[in-house]
C-alpha cells in the first residue's frame, strides 16, 4: 500500500518506466511465444500445422459469422445453467449435511464414492435417461460439478469456529441470520475453493457432452472440423475454447476478490503473526 504512494510521488518518467517494466513482464513471454508460433509456421506446408496467419484469418469467419449464435451461445448457456444449478444444490445439500454430524457420517462415504467417479463416464449413463438434448448436457454438468462444491461446503460448515457458533447462540441469532451470517459466510472460503474446482470440471463436461453426442455447440463444432479435416478452423476452435476458459477463470477471480476480501486480509494478518 505505502509503496504505491511512494511511486506516485516520483517523477512521471520513472512512473512510466515502472509501468513499462510491468507491461514487459506481463506481456513479454506471451508475445515471444506467439511470435515464435507465427514464425515457426509461417511457411508451413504441413497439413497438421497450418500457419498461424491462416488460423487467425479464418477465426473471424468461423466464429463471428453465425456460429456465435448457433454454437457458442448454446454451449455457454448450458454451462451457465449447469454450473448455477450445481452451486445451488451443492451448497444447499452441503449445508444440510455439514450441520448434522450424524447425517454427515451416514452420507460421507457415499459422497466420496460419487466424487471419485470420473465425471465424464456419467455422460453415457445420463444419455440413457435424458437423451442427447440440452437437458442431458445440463444434467451432465450438474452431476460432475456438484461434488467438489458439496464436499467443500460440508467441510466448510464443519470447520466453522466453535466460539463463533457460541457467539451466535448467545445473541440468539434467528435461523435466517445464523444461515446467512454464520454458516454461509463462515463456510465461504471452502465453498469458493470448491466452486473453483467445479468451474474447470464444468467446462470439461460442457465440451465432452458435446463431443460425445450433440447437434450443436463448441465441442461439437471443433470435433466436426477435425473429422472434416478443416484444420485451421479446428485450431481456431481450440483457441476460442482456451480463451473462454481463461475469461471464465478471470471472471471467477474478480468475483472472488470482491467477496473474499475479508478472508485474504484475515489470512494475511494471521500469517504475518500477531
Amino acid at each position: 500500500m505505502t509503496s504505491t504512494i511512494g511511486v506516485a510521488r516520483r517523477s512521471e518518467s520513472s512512473l512510466l518506466i515502472a509501468w513499462a517494466k510491468r507491461a514487459l513482464l506481463v506481456l513479454g513471454l506471451p508475445i515471444v511465444l506467439i511470435v515464435a508460433w507465427w514464425l515457426a509456421t509461417a511457411n508451413s506446408t504441413s497439413f497438421y500445422w497450418p500457419p498461424l496467419r491462416t488460423i487467425l484469418e479464418v477465426f473471424g469467419a468461423t466464429w463471428f459469422e453465425g456460429r456465435m449464435g448457433t454454437d457458442v451461445a448454446p454451449s455457454l448457456v448450458r454451462l451457465g445453467a449447469g454450473y448455477a444449478l450445481a452451486l445451488v444444490l451443492g451448497v444447499t445439500v452441503g449445508v444440510a449435511v455439514g450441520s448434522s454430524p450424524t447425517l454427515r457420517a451416514v452420507v460421507e462415504p457415499v459422497l466420496e464414492f460419487f466424487r471419485a467417479i470420473p465425471p465424464p463416464v456419467l455422460v453415457p449413463v445420463l444419455i440413457l435417461f435424458a437423451g442427447i438434448g440440452d437437458g442431458m448436457k445440463v444434467l451432465v454438468i450438474v452431476s460432475g460439478a456438484i461434488w467438489p462444491i458439496l464436499l467443500n461446503t460440508v467441510e466448510g460448515v464443519r470447520s466453522i469456529d466453535e466460539v463463533l457458533r457460541d457467539t451466535a447462540r448467545c445473541y440468539r441469532f434467528r435461523r435466517r441470520a445464523r444461515l446467512l451470517h454464520l454458516v454461509l459466510r463462515g463456510a465461504s472460503p471452502q465453498i469458493v475453493t470448491g466452486a473453483r474446482q467445479a468451474l474447470s470440471i464444468a467446462i470439461i463436461l460442457m465440451v465432452i457432452s458435446e463431443m460425445f453426442a450433440a447437434t450443436n455447440g463448441l465441442g461439437f463444432s471443433i470435433i466436426q472440423f477435425q473429422r472434416s479435416f478443416a484444420i485451421p478452423q479446428m485450431f481456431s476452435g481450440i483457441i476460442l475454447l482456451g480463451l473462454i476458459g481463461v475469461a471464465l477463470s478471470l471472471l471467477f477471480r474478480v468475483v472472488e476478490s470482491r467477496a473474499m476480501a475479508w478472508h485474504r486480509g484475515l489470512h494475511h494478518t494471521q500469517r504475518g503473526g500477531n
Binding site: 462415504p109 453415457p124 476458459g245
Partner: protein
Amino acid sequence: MTAGATPLAPAAAPRRRGIPDSALGVAGLAGLVAMLELIPRAGLADSRFLPPFSQMASALADQLDSPAFWQALGSSLRGWALGLAIAMGAGVVLGIVIGSIPALRAATTSTIEFLRPIPSVALIPLVVLLFGSDMRSTLILVVYASFWQILVQVLYGVADVDPVARDTARSYRFSPWAQVRTVIWPTALPYVMTGFRLAAAVALILEITGELVIGSPGLGKSIAVAQSSGAVTTMYALVIVTGLIGVAVNLIARRAERRVLRWHPSVRGEVPA
C-alpha cells in the same frame, strides 16, 4: 439428492451418539445399494436404463472373469501412472527452477496464469489428429492437465521458503544444488504432496475421459463400447469400477501425503489457489 429423507440429528448435537461413524458410513452405503436395488424393482425408474443393483453386481462378476476387462484396467492404470509420473517430474523440476529464479518467475507468471485454465479437453481434436486413438493421445491430455496442478503448488511451495533460511544458505555460499536440497525442497515438500494428491485425481479423470472420447484402450473405451452396444448393466458395472479406482487413488494419495509429511512440522491444508 436424498438428504431430506434421512433423519436429522437433534439440533444441538455435539453430544456423542454411541454409534461409531464407520458403522453409520457402512449404513449409508448399504442404503445406497438398497435404493439402487429397489428403485428399478418398484418401477420408479425404467429398469432398462437403471437395472437393479444385483444385476450390476453380477455383470461386475462377469467382468472380473474376462481377460479383456483386466487388460483394459491395466491400460488405464498404466496410462494414469505414466502420465502422472511425467507431469510430476516436469512440474517439480520446472517449479523449482522457475520458483527460485525471481526474474524467471516474474516473466512466466502471466503465461502460466493464461495456460492453466485452458481446458485440457480442448486439445482432444489436436491429439486425435496427431496420434489417432493411440494411447499417446490420452497420455498428452493426462500430462497436460496434471502438470499445472503440480507446477502451481510447487511454485507456492518455493515462494514459501523462509527468506532468512535462504539468505543463510547464500551467505554460507551453498551451491545452488545444496540450496535446493537443504532449504527449498524441505519447505516445498508439503506443497508438492498437495499437488500430487490433486494431480492424481485429475490424471484419472483425464485418462478415463480420453479413453471414452478418443477411444484409446482402457476402461473408458470399454464403457463407450458397452454403451453403444446397449450392454447397460455392464456399463454400470464399469462405472462402479472407475468410482472404486477413484476412491482408491484418493486414499493412496492421501496416505502417501501423510506418510511423507509425518515428520514435517507443518502438515498443512491446501493452498486455495
